[in-house]
Amino acid sequence: MKKVLLCATILGGMFALAPQNANAAGDIIVTYKDDVTTLDPAIGYDLVNWPLIKSVFMRLMDNKPGTAELVPSLAESFTISPDGMTYTFKIRNGVKFSNGRAVVASDVKYSIERAVDPKTQGPGGGFFNAIKGYDDLVGGKAANLSGIQATDDHTVVFTLTRPDATFMQVMAISFSSVVPKEAVEAAGADFGKKPVGSGAFTLKEWTSGQRLVFARNPDYFTPGVPNLDSITIEIGQEPLVAMLRLQKGEIDVAGDGIPPAKYAEMKASPDAADMLVEGNQYQTSYITMNTKVKPFDNVKVRQAVNMVINKQRVVQLLNGRATVANQILPPIMPGYDKQFGGYAYDVEKAKALLAEAGFKDGFETVLYATNTDPQPRIAQAIQQDLAAIGIKAEVRALAQANVIAAGGTEGEAPMIWSGGMAWVADFPDPTTFYGTILSCGGAVKGGWNWSWYCNPDNDKLATAADSMSDPAKASERAAAWSKIYANVMAEAPWVPVINELKVVAKSKRMAGSPDFYIDPVRIFNYDAISVK
């Protein structure tokens, strides 16, 4: 009798659950070539794990799906002091980690301190450098950030050392994800393989080199989110094979995108409308000219190079998956200047400038690029463009890590084509294109300022702009940044070449706004996508 009762209860339970799941039906398969490195939010920092981490964990703030608009998430509400130095967040009631414990304010404090602590070996600590006590924690003088206080279970207060216009955006990046201390301590360095969060999905299975399975979190704080029941990430799939499988309907999303050789065929097929999603991203591909290497120390030489690059041909080499750029910021970024003309294509004027600089017959130099298709072909196109004004550039196509190392070594790489070094801005703010790639602070060994360009006046203007944290001054701040980038372009350390479009290939049954697939901030919004 007991058994019968038990069965009845289980069956009853199943029927009770069924209607809830009806609108959320869907298990999808996504493929990637490389294994997911980690799901530890303090460590993960690539285009594959970033969106997954965002779906497994919650942060105080988040972005509205498919947009860059900030909305409270783990925070229910927040207040900012008039001087922009104190932020107070009220934590939502009843949010639970997947281990069952309620999320409290001290978890927020612990998680951000963990992201900053050098012992975590994470890349994201620098984002939090405006928080009081940052230098002491990084320098090993303190174990905590004095600028974060959990005043009670549902209130956390941040005190800054300077106003920081990007602070709220930083509260939404993956490094700000909230983790439970006990789970982190139990898993140790393996937390990245055994993540415990409070996000829309929970990790159910991870078979190294084969697959990861995520299931929807039934306790997620927003009813009806996520739409999917489960996501299976299959690992080790060559992009070309993934495309074949996608066309046969075996998988739902080819995570690594469409190989160049396959793009034209896909685009021309009758399924293109249902299977391809294209959109802008916070990305610019550029050529750096090393201002510490002769003759690129001469601004006229750099300006001349800016006038001879046939950007339209680079777009063609990418099968049209890009738009021509004339400035540093991509068009969808605040601070992008529509009026800005840039350097027009003009070989004669470039020749004249080179002659003025004393290089009437050109010179020899080296152009670095990564060695994965189509980047070497693009580098060769640039090589031909340079030859038009007598610059003989040797193309050096290397593995990405070696190009990055050469760029970060003083006097090493005269020119670098940045294409293929997958990087998009972490959040929609003009400062992201300046901080480590154009500021004096980035022009150091192992840094990312490959032009080694340093203009202290611009640095001062940048600090001033980033201190305008009052949301009411947003447009004034964007204008300030436009001015800074115009200054940079006048000195021409880069040739901004193209803005790459993001192209996602999905199965016909996948539904939801195209913006969810090319989400500017999440990269890919697993929470919002759905199945027909």
Partner: protein, 305 residues
């Protein structure tokens, strides 16, 4: 016999130590900074320096090497820079797939290669011999990626007989094993043929024929066992080669073996994984040869010490 074994074992250990030292120095000299790769584009110089310090990369090379060796003796291959997991557990997770692929590949190439070799030897100088040798020439010279993509497109994508990629069922292993087997069979066919051709002219074979044995029986009972020696040696080498990861075949068929792990680690400058995979495959090569050396005298009394 024992003394020889001990001596071989000793030299095997020295070889492994040498491999560890050379790999370590090469990785150190590589113009790429693991700390920069981990830190990503937005990291401040302090963050990069801290990561370098935490990983011990700011210590002198010799210290890093001795630390590595000391841990290695304790069976600790260290933790991945990027994934933070134990390298030993990452390798262990991939080992079954690699072993299965290795075993199936060797079975296919030995069976196919030996059969073709015997056919060629028995038909020496005739059309069949030329066809088999022509095929084996294609086999030894065709690039892995061409053959594996060809199999994938024909038998998986178009005909749909086998899954396109993955791991788990018998059907998954067929195409990768066939790719490796077909490519490797060429070597075996050529070797078996030349060994047989030589053996078939020997006096004892003539005696066997004179006794009235059929051609097939002569080959199977008398000639082939004597031609087996180079095959055993070759399998020893193949074990090592397949253990170091058959990167291309694994990549095309999404096979979760050591090769894919190594490939990803090289892209990410994940030195502990690269070191670990190199050592494991060096160990496999040394052990494969060692086993071949032990087995050979058991099969062939002529080379007993």
């Amino acid at each position: 016999m024992l003394a020889v074994l001990v001596k071989r074992l000793g030299s095997s250990c020295l070889i492994l130590l040498g491999v560890a030292a050379i790999t370590f120095v090469l990785l150190y000299c590589m113009p790429a900074d693991p700390a920069v790769m981990i830190a990503g584009r937005t990291a401040t110089p302090t963050v990069v320096a801290n990561i370098r310090h935490e990983l011990g990369l700011d210590q002198p090379l010799i210290m890093q090497f001795f630390n590595y060796l000391a841990n290695l003796l304790k069976g600790d291959l260290g933790r991945s820079y990027v994934q933070k997991s134990q390298v030993s557990s990452l390798i262990a997770a991939r080992l079954p797939a690699t072993l299965i692929l290795m075993f199936s590949g060797i079975v296919v190439e030995v069976v196919l290669g030996t059969t073709l070799g015997v056919i060629a030897a028995l038909n020496r100088g005739r059309m069949l011999d030329h066809i088999v040798m022509g095929l084996s020439f294609i086999g030894v010279s065709a690039p892995q990626f061409v053959v594996s993509l060809f199999f994938l497109i024909v038998f998986a994508a178009n005909l749909g007989w086998f899954p396109m990629s993955g791991f788990g069922t018998f059907n998954h292993i067929v195409l990768p094993a066939l790719t490796l087997g077909v490519l490797g069979a060429g070597w075996y066919a050529r070797m078996v043929r030349s060994a047989l051709v030589e053996v078939l002219t020997q006096d004892y074979v003539r005696t066997a024929r004179a006794k009235g044995l059929t051609g097939v029986r002569v080959v199977l009972r008398h000639a082939l066992p004597n031609a087996l020696l180079p095959i055993i040696a070759m399998i020893g080498i193949d074990i090592g080669q397949f253990m170091s990861g058959v990167v291309v075949v694994e990549a095309v068929f999404g096979w979760p073996g050591i090769g894919q792990l190594a490939w990803q680690a090289i892209q990410q400058v994940d030195i502990p994984i690269i070191m670990g995979v190199t050592l494991v495959s060096a160990l496999a090569i040394v052990m494969g040869n060692f086993l071949a050396d032990i087995l050979a005298p058991m099969i062939d009394p002529r080379i007993r010490v």
